[in-house]
C-alpha cells in the first residue's frame, strides 16, 4: 500500500500546486482583472463585494502572504466569490448547480469510451496484420476530429435535419428537476447526442493505444507460452495478452482523461448543456474571473480524484505494485 500512499501525497501536492497557481496567476499576469471587473460593474458592486474581489485577485493592501492565507480561508469556507456572468449568484452556487450534469455525462462517456475503445483495440491488436489494420487510419481520423466540431455536425444531422433528438439543453423544461421518472427519462434523452459525440470522438485514442500495446505484448514470452500450453484463444487473448496490455492505459490515464475532459467541456457549449463547460464558456465571454477560477479548481480536483481511482485500479490489476 506504500504505492498508494505515495500517490496520495503526490495528488495532495498537485492540488496544492493547482490552487496556488490559481492564486498567483491573477497577481502575476499583466493588467488587473480586479480593476477590469470593478470598472465593468461600476456602481453595481457593494463595498464588501469589491473587497472580496481584491482578496481574490490581489491589490488588497495586505501582504502577499496574508493574501495567500485569506485565499485559503475563503476556499475552505466555500467562498469562491460572486459570479459576474450570473450576477449576483455566488460562484459556489453556480458550480453546485452545474457540476452534477458534467460529472454524470463525462463519467458515463469516459467509461463507455474506455471500455469500447480498449475492447476494440484488443481485437484489432490480436488480429494484427489482418484487414482490421485498415481500421487504424479511420480511427486516427476520428480521434483527430475536434469534439466540438463533431458535435456541430451531429446536431445538424440528428436534430435539425432528422429531428430525432432535441437541439440543446439538458432536459425538457416541462419537467421538474428531481428524482422522478419523467425528469430522469428526459435528461437521458437530452444526453444521448452529447454522449454519442464524446464517446465516438474518444474511442479512437483508446483503440490505437490499446492496439499498439497489444502488439507489443503479443511478442512477450508469456503469451507464447500460453499458446504453447494449448489454452483457448480467448484465454490467451484476454488473460495473458490484454490483461497485461491494459496496464499502461491506467498509468497514462491522467493524460488521456485530461484530453477527454477538455473535449467534453467544449462539446457542452455546442449543446448548450447545463454543465460546467457551458458555464465556463459564459464565464469566458463575460471575463468572469471568479467563476473561471472556481471551475478550474473544481475540474482539477475532480480529475485528481478520477486519477486516484485509476491508480487504485492499477494496484488492483498489477500485483507487482502491491508489494509491502
Amino acid at each position: 500500500m506504500r504505492v498508494l500512499l505515495r500517490r496520495a501525497v503526490f495528488y495532495l501536492i498537485t492540488a496544492w500546486a493547482a490552487i496556488s497557481l490559481n492564486f498567483l496567476l491573477p497577481r502575476i499576469m499583466p493588467g488587473s482583472p480586479a480593476d477590469a471587473l470593478i470598472a465593468k460593474f461600476h456602481g453595481k458592486l457593494s463595498p464588501q463585494a469589491i473587497e472580496a474581489l481584491r482578496v481574490l485577485f490581489g491589490q488588497s493592501d495586505a501582504s502577499l502572504w496574508q493574501q495567500y492565507l485569506d485565499y485559503w480561508k475563503n476556499l475552505f469556507s466555500g467562498n469562491f466569490g460572486i459570479s459576474y456572468a450570473y450576477y449576483p449568484t455566488p460562484v459556489a452556487d453556480v458550480l453546485a448547480s452545474s457540476i452534477g450534469w458534467t460529472l454524470v455525462l463525462i463519467t458515463v462517456c469516459t467509461v463507455l469510451g474506455f471500455v469500447i475503445g480498449t475492447g476494440l483495440g484488443m481485437i484489432v491488436g490480436w488480429k494484427r496484420g489482418s484487414w482490421l489494420d485498415g481500421l487504424i487510419p479511420v480511427t486516427t481520423l476520428l480521434s483527430s476530429i475536434p469534439y466540438f466540431w463533431f458535435a456541430i455536425c451531429v446536431v445538424l444531422i440528428f436534430s435539425i435535419v432528422l429531428h430525432w433528438f432535441p437541439l440543446s439543453g439538458g432536459y425538457s423544461v416541462t419537467e421538474t428537476i428531481g428524482w422522478n421518472i419523467g425528469f430522469i427519462g428526459s435528461a437521458t434523452y437530452y444526453a444521448i447526442l452529447p454522449a454519442l459525440t464524446i464517446v465516438v470522438a474518444s474511442i479512437g485514442g483508446w483503440l490505437i493505444g490499446m492496439r499498439n500495446m497489444m502488439v507489443t505484448t503479443l511478442s512477450e514470452d508469456y503469451v507464447r507460452l500460453a499458446e504453447a500450453k494449448g489454452l483457448s484463444k480467448r484465454r490467451v487473448m484476454v488473460t495473458y495478452a490484454a490483461r497485461n496490455a491494459i496496464l499502461p492505459s491506467f498509468s497514462s490515464f491522467a493524460m488521456s482523461l485530461g484530453f477527454v475532459v477538455g473535449g467534453s467541456i467544449v462539446t457542452e457549449v455546442v449543446f448548450n448543456y447545463p454543465g460546467i463547460g457551458t458555464v465556463l464558456f459564459k464565464a469566458a465571454q463575460a471575463q468572469d474571473y471568479p467563476l473561471m477560477q472556481g471551475i478550474f479548481l473544481v475540474i482539477t480536483i475532480t480529475v485528481l480524484i478520477a486519477n486516484m481511482l485509476a491508480d487504485l485500479m492499477y494496484v488492483f490489476l498489477d500485483p507487482r505494485t502491491r508489494e509491502s
Binding site: 481520423l141 483527430s144 476530429i145 466540438f148 502488439v215 504453447a228 500450453k229 491522467a254 471575463q287
Partner: protein, 691 residues
C-alpha cells in the same frame, strides 16, 4: 492521438533491433500510410505559406451574397455577412499552423531541457523536475489554458503560443526522461563518462542524437494537440476573434447559429481541415513509433504473406491421424539407443524469416530423430538457429518467421503417426502440452506477471482436463510444485515474488503439468548463476529418470550438454553439422566446427590443453556462401568446401558407435576422415596466426 504516444515510453524495451545508422528512421517513410501522412502535412504547410496570396477575397470583406452555398464564385460558400469561407480557410491555415508549430517548438524545447536534465542528472533534480512534469500532466490542460488565455485578453497568436506551451511540455519531458535514463546506462555513455567527457558534451553528443526519433514523435504530437487547443480557445472566443484561424471560423459559425440555418459549408471545412491535418501528423507519428518500437513494425512486415503461405502449406499436407483418445501411457523404460522407439522425427525442416527486402533461412533443411526418454542436446552459437528450431517443433513461430517446408512426425501413444505441421488449430491445441511442453530461457519473461504461479498451472489443467474437479486440480498443482522443490505455500505467489531459481522451477512445474512425452528446454539455465544452474539441472535429470519424458535441450553451454545429453546435435548457420552420441562426441568430435567448439571449453578432468576459440564470426544468413557455411573459418577447408554444400553423412567407425553423422566433405566417400585432425586446439591457434 494522446494515448497512441503511450507506447513510446516502452520503446526502451525494444533494444532487439538497434538501428545501424542515425538516419535509419528515414526508412519509415517507405510505408504507404506514413507517406500519406507526410503528403498531407506537406500540403497544409504549403497552403499555410501561400494561402494569403492565393485567397480569392479579403476574408473579412462583407458582401451582399449572404449564406450562399458553394458556387463557382465562392467555392466554399459565404457566411452570414457574405464573407468568402474559402478565403477565411486559407488565411486560417496560416494562423492555425503557426500557432501549432510555434507552440510545439517552445513546448518541445522545454521538454527536451527538462527531460534530459532530469534523466541525466538524477537525484534530487530528477525528483523535482519529474514532480513538476507530473503535476502539469495531471492538471487538466484545457481549463488551465482557458484561464491563462482569458488573462491575456484578445491577445495575438504569440500569447496563445505561450499559453499552449505551458501546458504542453510535460508529456514529452516524461518520455524523454525515461529514454535518457535508459540511455545513460548504455555502454557508450558509460564509456564517455569514464573518459571524463563533460556532462554537456555527453548529453549533446551521445544522448541527444539517439533521441531524435522520440523528440520528433513528441513534437508532432504536440503540434496536433496545439492546433486542437488553439481551435478550442478560438471557438470559446478567447483569442482575437478578428484574426482568422480555423477555430475563429467555427466561433463565428456557432455564434451566428450556422447549424440552425443549415449552412454546413460554413463550419464543415474548418473541422475537416483540423481532422485531416491531425490524421496526417498521427500517421507520420505511427511511422516513427514503429521505428522506435520494432515489435510494432514486425507486426506489419510480411505478415500477410507469411500467414497465407502457412495456410497453404497446411492445406497441402495429408493428415494421417486416427481418432485420438489419450490412452494410458506405457510405463516408461530408461532410454536405450538400441531399443527405444522414435517419438518425434523432424524431416527436412526449413524456417525462414521474411524481412522487408530479404529472406533469412534460420533453419535450413534440418532432420532429427528423438527417441522415447532420450535427451537430445542441441548446441550452437547464438544465431545458429537452435532456438528457431525449438519454436518450430512447438509450432510457435509468428510472422515474420515462417516454416516453409518439412515434416514433423509425432508418434502418438497408440502408435499412430501425426504430422505436427498438418494439425488444425484445435488438434494443435490438444497436442500442445499434452504431448509436448516447452520451458523457456527466461522464466521472468515466460510467466505471466499478473497471474499467480498456481493459476498458471491450473489453467493448463482446466483447458486439457475439463472433467477434473477444482479440488483435484488444486491437489495436482501442489503435487507439481512439490515435485520441482517449491514449498506448497508458494502456490499463490506471483512470479515477481519468487527468486530466479524458483521461477525456473515453477516454469518446469508448468511444463510437467500434463505429464508430456517431450519437453523442449530452450536454454533453461542460462540466466541463472552456477549454483542454481546446477540444482536445476540435477532436478531435471532426476525428474526425467522418474517420469521418463524425452528432452530436447538447447544451450550454447557445451560442457553442460555433454554431461546431460544422450545425443548431441551441433548446429551451424541453420544446419545440423554433427549428430553423435554424447560421450563419443566428447571423445572424438568429427566436424571441424565441433572440434573448435570443444577446444574452446576447459575441462575439469582429462589432460591439460590450451584453450582456443574459433577465428572469425558466423556468416550472415541472408548471404550464405555457396559451399559449406563454415568453410570461411575452417582450418581444414579445401577448394571444394567453397563450392559444395556438404550433406549430413553417416560415419563409419567402431561397432559401438551409434548414428555419428557429420556434414563435412572430409568424410566423403568411405565415411572415414583421411587423417584424424588434432583436437588439442593448437591447430586453431596456428590457423589464426596463418590468417
Amino acid at each position: 492521438m494522446a494515448i497512441a504516444t503511450a507506447t513510446v515510453a516502452d520503446a526502451e524495451s525494444g533494444e532487439t533491433d538497434t538501428p545501424t545508422s542515425r538516419f535509419a528512421w528515414l526508412r519509415a517513410f517507405r510505408r504507404p500510410w506514413t507517406l500519406a501522412g507526410v503528403v498531407i502535412v506537406a500540403v497544409f504547410c504549403v497552403l499555410a505559406i501561400i494561402g494569403p496570396w492565393i485567397a480569392p477575397y479579403d476574408p473579412s470583406a462583407v458582401s451582399k451574397q449572404t449564406l450562399a452555398p458553394p458556387s463557382p464564385e465562392h467555392w466554399l460558400g459565404t457566411t452570414q455577412t457574405g464573407q468568402d469561407v474559402l478565403s477565411q480557410m486559407l488565411y486560417g491555415t496560416q494562423i492555425s499552423l503557426l500557432v501549432g508549430v510555434g507552440a510545439a517548438i517552445v513546448a518541445t524545447v522545454l521538454s527536451v531541457i527538462v527531460g534530459l536534465a532530469a534523466g541525466y542528472l538524477g537525484g534530487l533534480s530528477d525528483e523535482l523536475l519529474s514532480l513538476l512534469a507530473n503535476v502539469f500532466l495531471v492538471i487538466p490542460a484545457l481549463p488551465l489554458t482557458v484561464i491563462l488565455a482569458s488573462y491575456l485578453p484578445k491577445s495575438g497568436s504569440l500569447g496563445i503560443i505561450l499559453v499552449i506551451s505551458i501546458t504542453g511540455w510535460a508529456w514529452g519531458a516524461r518520455v524523454l526522461r525515461a529514454q535518457t535514463l535508459s540511455l545513460r546506462k548504455r555502454d557508450f555513455v558509460e564509456a564517455a563518462r569514464a573518459t571524463g567527457e563533460r556532462t554537456s558534451s555527453i548529453i549533446f553528443r551521445d544522448i541527444f542524437p539517439n533521441q531524435i526519433a522520440v523528440i520528433a514523435a513528441s513534437f508532432l504530437g504536440t503540434v496536433t494537440g496545439a492546433i486542437l487547443t488553439q481551435a478550442s480557445l478560438a471557438f470559446l472566443g478567447l483569442t482575437n476573434v478578428t484574426e482568422w484561424s480555423w477555430g475563429t471560423i467555427l466561433y463565428w459559425a456557432l455564434v451566428s447559429s450556422a447549424m440552425l440555418t443549415g449552412a454546413w459549408w460554413w463550419f464543415v471545412p474548418a473541422g475537416l481541415a483540423i481532422a485531416l491535418l491531425g490524421t496526417g501528423l498521427s500517421l507520420v507519428n505511427f511511422g516513427i513509433d514503429e521505428f522506435i518500437n520494432p515489435r510494432l513494425r514486425q507486426a506489419g512486415i510480411g505478415t500477410r504473406k507469411a500467414q497465407k503461405a502457412q495456410a497453404r502449406a497446411q492445406r497441402a499436407k495429408i493428415v494421417r491421424r486416427p481418432a485420438r483418445g489419450r490412452g494410458e501411457r506405457a510405463a516408461h523404460r530408461p532410454f536405450d539407443p538400441a531399443t527405444s522407439d522414435v517419438i518425434l522425427r523432424v524431416e527436412n525442416l526449413h524456417v525462414d524469416y521474411i524481412g522487408e527486402s530479404s529472406v533469412t533461412p534460420a533453419v535450413n533443411d534440418v532432420s532429427l530423430a528423438l527417441r522415447r526418454g532420450e535427451v537430445l542436446g542441441i548446441a550452437g552459437e547464438s544465431g545458429s538457429g537452435k532456438s528457431t528450431l525449438a519454436y518450430a517443433i512447438t509450432r510457435l513461430h509468428k510472422p515474420p518467421a515462417q516454416i516453409t517446408s518439412g515434416r514433423m512426425l509425432y508418434t502418438n501413444p497408440d502408435g499412430s503417426v501425426t504430422d505436427i505441421l498438418a494439425m488444425g488449430d484445435s488438434d494443435l491445441r490438444d497436442f500442445r502440452w499434452e504431448e509436448l511442453s516447452i520451458v523457456f530461457q527466461s522464466a521472468m519473461h515466460a510467466l505471466n506477471p499478473v497471474l499467480t504461479v498456481g493459476a498458471q498451472i491450473d489453467d493448463v489443467l482446466r483447458a486439457h482436463r475439463p472433467g477434473m474437479s477444482q479440488a483435484a486440480r488444486a491437489a495436482r498443482v501442489v503435487e507439481l510444485l512439490g515435485l520441482v522443490g517449491i514449498q506448497t505455500d508458494r502456490v499463490n505467489a506471483y512470479p515477481h515474488e519468487l527468486s530466479g531459481g524458483m521461477r525456473q522451477r515453477a516454469m518446469i512445474a508448468v511444463g510437467l503439468a500434463l505429464d508430456p512425452e517431450i519437453i523442449v528446454m530452450d536454454e533453461p539455465t542460462t540466466a541463472l548463476d552456477v549454483v542454481i544452474q546446477r540444482q536445476i539441472i540435477e532436478k531435471i535429470i532426476e525428474l526425467k529418470d522418474r517420469l521418463g519424458f524425452a528432452v530436447v535441450f538447447i544451450t550454447h553451454d557445451l560442457s553442460l550438454l555433454i554431461e546431460l545429453s544422450d545425443t548431441i546435435a551441433v548446429m551451424y548457420a541453420g544446419r545440423v553439422v554433427e549428430l553423435a552420441d554424447a560421450s563419443e562426441f566428447y571423445r572424438n568430435p568429427r566436424h571441424p566446427y565441433s572440434q573448435g567448439l570443444l577446444a574452446s571449453f576447459p575441462t575439469l578432468s582429462g589432460p591439460k590443453r590450451e584453450l582456443a576459440g574459433i577465428p572469425g564470426s558466423p556468416p550472415d544468413l541472408r548471404r550464405l556462401p555457396a559451399g559449406c557455411a563454415f568453410a570461411e573459418r575452417c582450418p581444414l577447408a579445401f577448394d571444394r568446401c567453397h563450392e559444395v554444400v556438404p550433406e549430413l553423412l553417416k560415419l563409419s567407425g567402431p561397432a559401438e558407435w551409434r548414428q555419428a553423422e557429420a556434414a563435412c566433405l572430409l568424410y566423403e566417400g568411405d565415411g572415414t576422415a583421411p587423417d584424424r585432425p588434432a583436437q588439442d586446439g593448437r591447430d586453431a591457434v596456428e590457423m589464426e596466426d596463418a590468417r
